[in-house]
Amino acid sequence: MRVKNHLSVIWFFLVIFFFVINSSARVGPVYAIVNCKIIPVSSSPLEKGIIIIRDGLIESVGSPEEIAIPEDAEVIEAEGLIAYPGLIDAHTNLFIEFPKEEPRQRGRAMGSQEKESGRYPDVLAFKLLKPKKSTIESYRKIGVTTVLVAPKRGIYSGQSVLLNLNGEKPETMVVKNPVALHVNFSTARGLYPATVMGTMAFLRQSFLDAEHYNAHKSLYAKAAKGMKRPEYNPLLEVFIPYALEKKPVIFTCDNQEDIKRALGLIDEFKLNGILSGVNEAWRIAERLKKRKLPLLVSLYFKPPPTSLYVNQGKEMKEKAEKVIYPANAANLHVSGIRFALTSYGLSKADRFLENTRKAIKAGLPKEEALKSLSIYPADFLGVSNTMGSLSPGKIANVILTSGEIFEKETQVKKVFVDGILFKVKKPPEKGKAPVFNISGTWQGTVSWEMGELEATVEFEQEGNDITGTISSDYGEWEISEGYLSGNELTFSCTAMIMGETMEMNFSGKVEEDSIDGTITFTGGSAELRLTRIPKKSF
């Protein structure tokens, strides 16, 4: 009896000992997802199968006959659920925050070349990461486990980072860094280059400079003696892998002319180019098909101010947003072009899924939509050996859904990112009920350090959602992403001021007859004060 007791104590310690050893040797727990339908994307679906996840990787995928459930696995009963690879969003500007810029000094003499204008190639998205828990959760909630995060400001906006949404710690989230250099056909507002033709010259010059700098460096490396050493240039250093070593350069193209500009630069400097945005890609599908370039098609359907549709009147603009842009993906598919779908331009994850459904409604086959959110982006971003499908050895980014992924009623039930299980919370409460109805006309001033501007704002409210327009001497701009929660109002707006595009974000407080808040934009901020103009009663 005594001996027996003794033995059981030893057994107890042994078990504890092994458990500790084991758990310290592995990254994550072991899961066996059983009885689910499996859509591996890279191979044919399984009606009822098992997925084993170990150490953050997919150990095996198969039918119950093929796969035994390991003893150490936590079994996840997934009867009635469907397993998909975690979705990849191949371009977003969310998850990062810019440090506040010093406002530009007034009275600066023009005529001298501003070398710094629009030039942030050295900015690393990784260093700007400030992922908000709510944003991460909102992405996981729609089944996205991986995002390519890129800075947006400037002509060269910096280098992107590929993240797995496995927590909130940037270091553990990084899959690949840096991924690509990002280029926008934007302008430097008041500085050189102030027009897109200037931007093109500026881009061409910087690629030429990178070539020259690299040539000088490599010559110097061969024979330093008797040669003037190249002056160290931290910005040009950044360019070398992209301009000369075929690391990808992602051009964000707002309209079809931007696409042609990008193609021209890619040819001239033999770049490994990827085109993003490309809402008007269908218009030159024939040419793009021949080029076989990776396309990251944005699901943000508002035509940019530089689009011809905006200049053709309100009716055309609405048609572009509701019909033409949503059909872009379907049209590209018909032309036999592969692409990834991205949330670029959208500030809410829900909208991403919603707009994917719009693209499907416009004719994009569901299977293709799924591929363009999994295996295609993985391929374009050079991570197809570790991501994009459910197959043994790949990173365990797996989602379990209540039904077919793009169906409206479908909910994502469980999300594995790097083998870590995240339960999806029930849909969070929508914002607080609005305290006021702000529909109607408002008048007021925008004031910033350069002066004041009179503005008239028309709001239209539907529940929490706010739409409308801002008009001033500079033109009329549309309010997007407007939201009123309680008395807190936020909206964005893309303004065209003297031929230049400006992204603005407003956040402020609403009172019965006044709205007070701050507009932030690249390079500064402004105060917006509005008072309600009472409706005329006759």
Binding site: G107, M200, Q205
Partner: protein
């Protein structure tokens, strides 16, 4: 089997042939043909094959399948050429700096600018669309054909001169403008100085490259040789100095115009043309001697301080003094009635019909370096043609049809028909929409 092969060959040829032929076939019959350079044919025909004028004469027969346009009672002239506009582009001035020759208008083409269609409706088939006059040295311009509906790159005319915009006077010195920040130069002497300075820099840059190439080519070439840094701004100016690119210079006053000519002689570059040149009549002798053209408004004067001494006789007077004169629109609206402006040169200064027509056809063609392919109705030139209901210099005239390379891009009758159909359709559609909503 044979049948199969035959049908295969037919299929392949059907697929291949349209790719090879860019232009169209067209026969224009029985019009009053104003060739501009080869006189008038009262009842003439023009046969265009593959976009090129193959025959001009009387009683021509249409080869099988070729579309025939009946021009009886109408006037057939070469497509009008506008030597100075800013249409079909999304940016005009890179105004952030005073010297920006590295920027190219071809990078900001906008094939969907409706001004292209406006131009077609006025018989314009070719334009020189330019950088603005905001900078002493602006950007690289481009010549386009008004192929409405085609992609921008198909509109470019590769035969034309490469031209660089220069500008003098009020617009670039900006001393009378309200600008929040001051920019050098602020005076006419500064304008001349900055242009001179930049061109001298370019000379220096060229010498640097010449030295490098010389060493590189020499047998004793060092193994390790670093080429100079390629500078796009200097490259553009070097092309001007090498004669590969022509200067097109915006200037109003006679004094600064002469100064610019002196500069071109000093540094050895070619001026194709002065823009606006409202005081050209004062220096017609010099312009004619230097063989520099002018591209002007016919009758705009005194609309700004440097245009006070402009006169409507400028075009006729300079023409008679041997200066190559063209009339430009500089506007997306005036572009559709350049023929009216040309006609005014008959009233103000008494040009002949042919001389007046030249102001908007062959003269701008010469200024743009495209006289081999456009500007008059001659065999082997492009089939770029405008058809008017009355003599194009009549006050009552109207452009009926505009043709580029044998393809009809504007047909007034067709357009009016379509417009009528559209207006008929629209109310129905609106009713439908309302019905859906209910």
């Amino acid at each position: 089997m044979k049948k199969n092969i035959m049908s295969l060959i037919i299929w392949i040829s059907l697929l291949v042939i349209p790719v090879l032929i860019s232009g169209q076939n067209l026969l224009i019959k029985n019009g009053t043909v104003l060739t501009v350079t080869k006189g008038t044919i009262p009842k003439g025909d023009i046969l265009i094959l593959d976009g090129i004028i193959k025959r001009i004469g009387e009683n021509l027969e249409a080869p099988e399948g070729v579309r025939v346009v009946d021009a009886s009672g109408r006037y057939v002239i070469p497509g009008i050429i506008d030597s100075h506009t800013h249409i079909a582009i999304t940016a005009v001035n890179e105004g952030s700096e005073a010297v920006t020759p590295e920027v190219r208008i071809r990078d900001v083409l906008n094939a969907e600018d409706t001004a292209i269609y406006t131009a077609l409706s006025g018989g314009v088939t070719m334009i020189h669309t330019m950088h603005g006059s905001g900078n002493p040295i602006g950007g690289q311009n481009i010549v386009l054909k008004m192929k409405w509906g085609r992609p921008a790159e198909e509109m470019i005319v590769p035969e034309a001169f490469r031209t660089l915009k220069f500008a003098l006077g009020e617009n670039v010195k900006q001393a009378n403008f309200y600008t929040p920040v001051l920019r050098y130069p602020q005076s006419r002497m500064g304008v001349n100085a900055i242009i001179r300075r930049e061109l001298l820099k370019a000379k220096n840059y060229m010498e640097q490259w010449d030295r490098y190439l010389k060493v590189k080519k020499s047998k004793k070439s060092a193994k390790i040789l670093l080429p100079p840094r390629k500078n796009l701004r200097m490259e553009a100016l070097a092309d001007v100095l090498r004669g590969k690119m022509m200067a097109r210079c915006h200037s109003y006053r006679a004094d600064e115009t002469l100064e610019f000519i002196n500069l071109s002689k000093e540094l050895g570059f070619k001026i194709a043309c002065f823009e606006h040149a409202s005081e050209a009549f004062k220096i017609a002798k010099e312009l004619s001697a230097e063989r520099i053209g002018i591209s002007i408004f016919l009758d705009n004067w005194a609309y700004k301080i440097e245009a006070y001494e402009g006169i409507a006789y400028n075009a006729a007077y300079c023409t008679k003094k041997g200066v190559l004169v063209s009339i430009n629109s500089d506007s997306s609206e005036r572009i559709r009635r350049l023929f009216n402006d040309a006609a005014k040169a008959m009233k103000y200064g008494g040009l002949s019909e042919e001389e007046a027509l030249k102001l908007i056809t062959i003269n701008p063609a010469i200024q743009l370096g495209v006289e081999r392919i456009a500007g008059s109705l001659e065999v082997n030139k492009h089939g770029d043609i405008a058809i008017f209901n009355e003599h194009p210099l009549s006050a009552y005239t109207r452009c009926e049809m505009t043709i580029i390379e044998g393809e009809v891009y504007f047909d007034r009758a067709q357009y009016l028909k379509e417009r009528e159909e559209m207006t008929k359709k629209k109310p129905n559609e609106e009713k439908k929409k309302k019905g859906e909503e209910i």
